[in-house]
Amino acid sequence: MARYGMVIDETKCVGCYACRVACQNQNNLAEDEAYNYLEEREFGQFPLFTRVFLPVQCQHCDNPPCVTVCPTGASHKRKDGIVLVTEKDCIGCKYCIAACPYHVRIIRKQGYVEKCRFCVEFVEEGGKPACMTTCMTGVRLFGDLDDPASEIAQYIARNRHRLRPYKGEMNTKPRIFYRKA
C-alpha cells in the first residue's frame, strides 16, 4: 500500500496561479472555487527586499481535525493517507471548514464540502496531481513516501533538515512538507 505525500518548495513559487486554474479544470470547479491558494509574504526594506509565495492546499494530515469533527464520516482518511470527502454523506454542516487550520475546505455550489483530493483518480492510474505537472518551476513533488526509489522519498532523504510542516504547532501531522529557503 502506497503512502502518498507531497513536498512544496516555497523558494521556487513565482505566484503565477497556474496550479489554481489547472486544479479548477481538473475538478470542474467554478471560477471562484479553488482547492489551493497562495500566501504572499514580503521581507526587508528597499532595496534589500524579497518576497515569498507559499502555496497552500489540503495537507492530508495524519491527525486530521476535519475528520475528527465530521458528524457523518463523510470526511475520512484513506489507508494510503489521502483525506477525502464522500459527497453523498456530506450534510454541509461546515464543521470541518471551521476545524481545518489551513482554511483549504470550501463549500461547493452543489452544497457539499470539498478540497484538494491529491487528484486521486489520476494518481491511482499512475499520474500526478495537476498542480504539480503544470508548474513551470517545479514547486511540488508528489509520490509514495514508502517507496525508497520514488523521487519524493529520495528528495526527503536528501533535504530532511530543510523540510518543515506548515503550522506544525497544530499537531495535525501534515503529509505536505515545505522546503524553506
Partner: protein, 728 residues
C-alpha cells in the same frame, strides 16, 4: 507519459454514463450541467497549440462530453516542455464565453446587426473596390498580433498591391530587434539552461510568461548558476534570483556602459573572441572611458561597488555566462535610449565571448518552411514603401519594414493616407498608447473590418466584425515558434466543432482575397498549403497532426561563423549606424522625460505583466479575473516611503494624471519598487461594454501615454511618461 484518464465517479455505475453521453453540445455549453454529468464520460485527447499568448505553447486538449475539459502541456514542445501557465488553463473557458460573437456583424446606425458571411464579404469587397479606385492600394492596411497564418495576410495585402501589413511590434520589441540585427545580424536566443551566470535586465519570464526560459533558469540554478535580476520592481523572476538590483527606470544603459567600462579597464573581456570576431573594439575603448561605475551609480542608483563586483563575477563565468537578450522591458519599446541600451547589451555579451556559445547567447535553429510557388504563384508585391517611413533614410531607417509602425496607423488615418483597415487578433484601441487619438484615427477610416471572437474595443467601432473561431475550434497554418536547439514545427488543430457561425483566420483571409479578385493567389486549401510548407523539412502533416509538434533538421552547433552583418563580424562599432547619423558606439542618452525629484507627486509610470493576463485579451476571462480579484492584483504599486509622504495607506484610492489621461485606482504599498516610479500591471482597463467581466476594471498604462515615436525605429517609448499621483 501515456494517456491517463481520470474516472471520477467511476464507481457510481454506468447509468450516469448513458445520461452524460446523451447530453450533447447543448449541455456542454452550460458548465454546471456539464460538470455534474461529465464524470464518467470517455475522454478524447487532441494535440494543438495554446492561444492564450504569443508563445503558443504545445498542449493536449482533453474533450469530454463534447466540451473541453482540461489541457496539459506537451512535453515535446520546446517552448513549454510539458508545463502550462494560468492563462492557458483559464483562456480555454473563453470558448464558452457568452460575450462571443455568433455571426458576422454589420454596424448600422451605431448598432450591430447579424448578417451572413456572403453579405459581409460582398459589401466589404464593394467598399474596398471603391476605396482602391479613389485612393489606390496603399490606402488599405492589415494589422495583427503575429499568428501562424500571418504569411497569408501578407500575401493578401500584396495581392491588393498594398505595402501596409503591420504587427504590434512598434509597441513591443522593435528597438531590441534592430539593435541585435545591427550588432550580430539577427535576434538570438539565450542558452539559459547551460549558463553559469545569468544577468536579466528588464525581462521577467516568470511574469510575462516564457515557460521554457523559466524551466531553464531553474535548472541552471540547480546546477549552481547565479541569477541576478535588474528591474525597478521586484519582479516574479526576482523571486528566483540570488540578487535583485532595483535600478532607476530608464537608466539601464548607464549600468551596461559601466559594466563595459569595467570589462575594458580591468581587461576582463574575452580578448581572443574580440580580436577574431568583432570590429570596432578600439573605438569602444575610446568612448567607454567616459562611463566609470562611479558615474553610473549616480545615474542608475546601483552602487559602483556592486557594478564592479557583478562585472567581475560574470566575466569569471564567461563564456558560459549571459545577459538575457531582453524583450519588451527596458529595451523593447520603452525609452528614448532603448535602442542604445539594447546595443550596449548586445556588445556586453560579445565581450563575454558568448555569441553562439553553450551557456551564452545562441542562434536558434530555424525551420525553413517551404514556399507555395510554383504551383501557387506569389503576388508581385507593392510598388512603394510603407507610409510610416520604416526603412527610409531621414525617417525611420532602422525601423522594421516587416512590422511597420502600427501605432502610427491612427496618425496616417487622420492624415487621410490610410482609408481602410483590417484588424485581426489585435486590439489597438486598448493596446496602443493614447486611446483618444487612436479612437479618432480608427474612426476616421472609411472602412474598418475587425476579425475577432468577441467585441473588443476595436471591434466595437468597426463597420464589420467577422467572428474568428476560437483556437480550439479550428485548424490553422503550421508554425515554427518552438524552435530552439533544434527547429520545431507545430500546428493548431480543431478539438471540437465550432459552437457558432465562426471561421478560422486562414479561411477568412482566403475568402476576403477571393471576393477581391485575388483568387489565383489563394488557390489552395489549408491542408495543401500546410503540406507544401512542411515538404522541405521532410515532415509529414499526418505525423505533425498526431504529435502537435515535431523536431526537424539538424541540431544546434557551437561556434561563430560569418555573421549576417555588413562586416560578417560582431559590430561593436557600426559603420551602418554612423552612416545614418547615429552613434557608431553606444553613448549615454538621457530618457526623454524624468520626474522632478522635488515634486512629491511626480512619478514615472512603468508597467509590466502579471502571469495570469495577456495584453487586453484575457481580462474578460472569469477564471483569470477571479484571481485578480481574490488576490487584489488590480492595484498600482508604489514605494512605501514615497507613499507615506503622500499620506497613502495600503489600499487607498489615488488619482493618476498625465498630459493625456487620468484615472483612479487603489494602491499597493511595497518595499519592492524603485521610489522614482509607480508600476501598473498591464491587461486591465478594458472599456468595451461588450466584455462584461473585464469592463471598467482597473486602468491601462496606455491611457496615460502620449503618442510618441522614438527617432531610431519609431517605437512607442511606452515608459516615457510622468504622472501626478494624488490621494482622493
Amino acid at each position: 507519459m501515456p494517456l491517463k484518464i481520470s474516472r471520477r465517479g467511476f464507481l457510481k455505475g454506468s447509468a450516469l454514463t448513458a445520461g452524460a453521453l446523451s447530453l450533447g453540445t447543448l449541455g456542454a455549453l452550460d458548465f454546471r450541467t456539464w460538470a455534474k454529468t461529465n464524470a464518467a464520460a470517455p475522454v478524447r485527447r487532441v494535440p494543438t497549440i495554446c492561444n492564450g499568448c504569443g508563445n503558443r505553447c504545445g498542449l493536449f486538449a482533453y474533450v469530454k462530453n463534447g466540451r473541453i475539459w482540461r489541457i496539459e502541456g506537451n512535453p515535446e514542445a520546446n517552448g513549454n516542455r510539458g508545463v502550462l501557465c494560468p492563462k492557458g488553463h483559464g483562456y480555454l473557458h473563453d470558448l464558452y464565453n457568452p460575450n462571443r460573437i455568433r455571426s458576422p456583424l454589420k454596424r448600422v446606425d451605431g448598432k450591430f446587426q447579424p448578417i451572413s458571411w456572403e453579405q459581409a464579404y460582398q459589401e466589404i469587397a464593394q467598399k474596398i473596390n471603391l476605396i482602391l479606385m479613389e485612393n489606390g492600394p496603399e490606402s488599405v492596411f492589415w494589422v495583427n498580433y503575429p499568428q501562424p497564418n500571418h504569411a497569408y495576410a501578407l500575401r493578401f495585402m500584396h495581392s491588393l498591391g498594398s505595402p501596409h501589413y503591420f504587427t504590434h511590434g512598434s509597441t513591443c520589441y522593435t528597438a531590441r530587434n534592430a539593435a541585435w540585427n545591427h550588432t550580430v545580424g539577427k535576434l538570438p536566443s539565450n542558452d539559459l539552461a547551460n549558463s553559469r551566470y545569468i544577468l536579466v535586465i528588464g525581462r521577467n519570464p516568470a511574469g510575462g510568461v516564457d515557460l521554457g526560459q523559466v524551466k531553464d533558469i531553474v535548472r541552471a540554478r540547480e546546477n549552481g548558476a547565479k541569477l541576478i535580476v535588474v528591474d525597478p520592481r521586484h519582479s516574479e523572476t526576482a523571486i528566483l534570483a540570488d540578487e535583485w538590483l532595483p535600478i532607476k527606470p530608464g537608466t539601464d544603459l548607464a549600468l551596461l556602459l559601466a559594466m563595459i567600462n569595467v570589462m575594458v579597464a580591468e581587461r576582463l573581456y574575452d580578448a581572443r573572441f574580440v580580436k577574431e570576431n568583432t570590429v570596432g573594439f578600439e573605438q569602444l575603448e575610446d568612448e567607454i572611458i567616459n562611463y566609470p561605475p562611479q558615474w553610473a551609480e549616480k545615474v542608475c542608483d546601483i552602487p559602483a561597488a556592486t557594478i564592479v563586483r557583478i562585472t567581475r563575477e560574470i566575466c569569471r563565468a564567461k563564456p558560459h555566462a549571459l545577459i538575457h537578450r531582453g524583450y519588451h522591458g527596458a529595451i523593447g519599446a520603452q525609452y528614448l535610449n532603448s535602442f542604445q541600451t539594447a546595443r550596449a547589451l548586445a556588445i556586453a555579451n560579445a565581450l563575454l565571448g558568448n555569441i553562439n556559445r553553450k551557456g551564452g547567447i545562441y542562434f536558434a535553429q530555424s525551420a525553413g518552411l517551404g514556399e507555395l510557388q510554383p504551383t501557387h504563384p506569389i503576388p508581385a508585391g507593392p510598388a512603394g514603401p510603407k507610409a510610416d517611413g520604416t526603412g527610409i533614410p531621414g525617417r525611420y531607417p532602422l525601423g522594421s519594414y516587416g512590422d511597420g509602425i502600427s501605432h502610427a496607423i491612427p496618425e496616417l488615418a487622420l492624415r487621410g493616407i490610410l482609408k481602410c483597415g483590417f484588424v485581426y487578433h489585435h486590439n489597438p484601441l486598448r493596446t496602443n498608447p493614447n486611446p483618444k487619438r487612436v479612437i479618432a484615427g480608427y474612426k476616421k477610416l472609411d472602412l474598418l473590418v475587425v476579425i475577432d471572437p468577441v467585441l473588443s474595443e476595436t471591434a466595437s467601432i468597426a463597420h464589420y466584425v467577422l467572428p474568428a473561431s476560437f483556437y480550439l475550434e479550428t485548424d490553422e497554418a503550421v508554425d515554427t515558434k518552438h524552435s530552439g536547439k533544434r527547429a520545431q514545427v507545430s500546428i493548431q488543430q480543431k478539438a471540437i466543432e465550432p459552437l457558432f457561425d465562426s471561421r478560422s483566420g486562414f479561411q477568412i483571409i482566403c475568402d476576403l482575397a477571393k471576393h477581391l479578385g485575388s483568387a489565383r493567389f489563394f488557390n489552395f486549401t489549408l491542408d495543401e498549403a500546410n503540406e507544401l510548407r512542411l515538404k522541405p523539412l521532410g515532415a509529414s502533416l499526418k505525423e505533425l497532426r498526431a504529435k502537435g509538434v515535431l523536431a526537424v533538421g539538424p541540431s544546434w552547433k557551437e561556434g561563430i561563423g560569418k555573421l549576417e552583418t555588413p562586416s560578417g563580424k560582431v559590430e561593436i562599432a557600426s559603420a551602418t549606424l554612423e552612416g545614418l547619423g547615429y552613434p557608431a558606439i553606444p553613448r549615454w542618452q538621457e530618457p526623454l522625460v524624468s520626474p522632478d525629484p522635488k515634486d512629491l507627486h511626480a512619478f514615472r509610470l512603468i508597467h509590466g505583466k502579471q502571469a495570469m493576463h495577456t495584453h487586453a485579451m484575457t481580462a474578460n476571462q472569469p477564471y483569470l479575473m477571479a484571481i485578480s480579484r481574490r488576490y487584489d492584483l488590480i492595484r498600482l504599486w508604489i514605494n512605501r516611503s514615497r507613499a507615506e509622504k503622500l499620506s497613502l495607506k495600503d489600499g487607498d484610492m489615488v488619482e493618476i494624471k498625465s498630459l493625456v489621461g487620468e484615472g483612479k485606482i487603489r494602491v499597493k504599498l511595497t518595499e519592492g519598487l524603485h521610489p522614482s516610479c509607480v508600476w501598473l500591471p498591464s491587461g486591465y482597463g478594458v472599456f468595451s461594454k461588450h466584455l462584461t467581466t473585464a469592463y471598467d476594471q482597473g486602468l491601462s498604462y496606455n491611457d496615460f501615454l502620449p503618442t510618441l515615436f522614438d527617432p531610431t525605429v519609431g517605437h512607442a517609448m511606452s515608459s516615457e511618461v510622468i504622472v501626478q499621483v494624488r490621494k482622493v
